[in-house]
Symmetry: C2
Subunit: 189 residues, 2 copies
């Protein structure tokens, strides 16, 4: 997605040649026009697939999850990082954030993932794939089917994307970062 790559080059702030901070348009301040276009891109990629739900994880996955769900005319479900007091019957799994160095339990109410559901997982970043594997696990616990995974920015130099593709999963990343060099981002073609 050229539009996304351009905005990453222009607005992204590279930290220590290993992180790109995209909080001016993707995960703190958000450019709604970009987010709507991403929903269309994911719709185009998964066109023709039967999809009954979009699944993401709070908080940064929600905007792209929403616009993708709107395109497919299906509900969005977002996994929670803290179980609400009113939720009693849920799927849960552990997700380790390597960036933040913490592990947390995510949960999804059993009401919203059912046998027969065909689900696309959407998230803002893919690095080691921890969140993606966690959401895949929850889909499997619910007896539902993973149709594919849509990611805004994949860190191509980490293993998550490779492993998911080797498992035969239809993974669409709108921008894949190959490396950081001299304060610039190089994308995979």
């Amino acid at each position: 997605m050229e539009f996304l790559k351009e905005i990453i080059q222009k607005e992204g702030k590279i930290i220590d040649n290993k992180l790109v901070k995209v909080d001016s348009f993707l995960n703190h301040q958000i450019d709604p026009n970009l987010i709507y276009k991403m929903g269309e891109e994911f719709k185009n990629h998964f066109l023709g697939k039967e999809v009954t739900k979009i699944l993401t994880i709070e908080a940064s996955g929600i905007p792209i999850g929403l616009t993708t769900a709107y395109e497919f005319k299906v509900p969005l479900v977002f996994a929670k990082k803290n179980k609400p007091g009113t939720m009693s019957n849920y799927y849960t799994t552990k997700v380790k954030s390597f960036t933040k160095g913490v592990e947390y339990d995510i949960c999804v109410s059993k009401e919203f993932i059912n046998k027969g559901d065909k689900i696309i997982v959407i998230d803002d970043f893919l690095a080691m794939g921890a969140a993606a594997f966690g959401l895949k696990d929850i889909i499997e616990q619910g007896g539902a089917e993973l149709v594919g995974i849509g990611i805004a920015i994949e860190k191509g130099f980490q293993d998550g994307g490779r492993i998911l593709r080797e498992q035969g999963i239809d993974l669409k990343s709108l921008a894949i970062i190959e490396k950081f060099e001299n304060g610039k981002v190089t994308f995979r073609d």
Copy 2:
């Protein structure tokens, strides 16, 4: 907003005659069609006002914040409940959740709220007004202007809405719950 009131009556689950659980369409599973319509409603209400940014709080405020931001063609900023390690210069304030019985610090990077900004605050629920007052405080710390507040569901039997209106704030709630009675919701006209 009749469409929202109907879906609350049909799908909302009343708990102990004091809470309505709306997690099948608003804050866990999300109906994107409803959320897009809410953005249009807020646009219609605040039509003609100069607006430079929409401000909300993670996680449930993000969907409606996004569609409202899209309608106004301005960025959405969402306040974070946990300060990211990469954020060093930020506004912060304490917000007490009466429903959850916890107090937390919310934060917004100083980059994204500036003097001269004209901001609409959007959130899913308004009860005692804790989140709304917190976001208003952050806007004031940034020397920006609060244009108004848009809420999906106001609990009219709690004090937040009354206090904000008495302060002369333009508060638009799409549905105001007057009371719960016999397992049904009564709305204010």
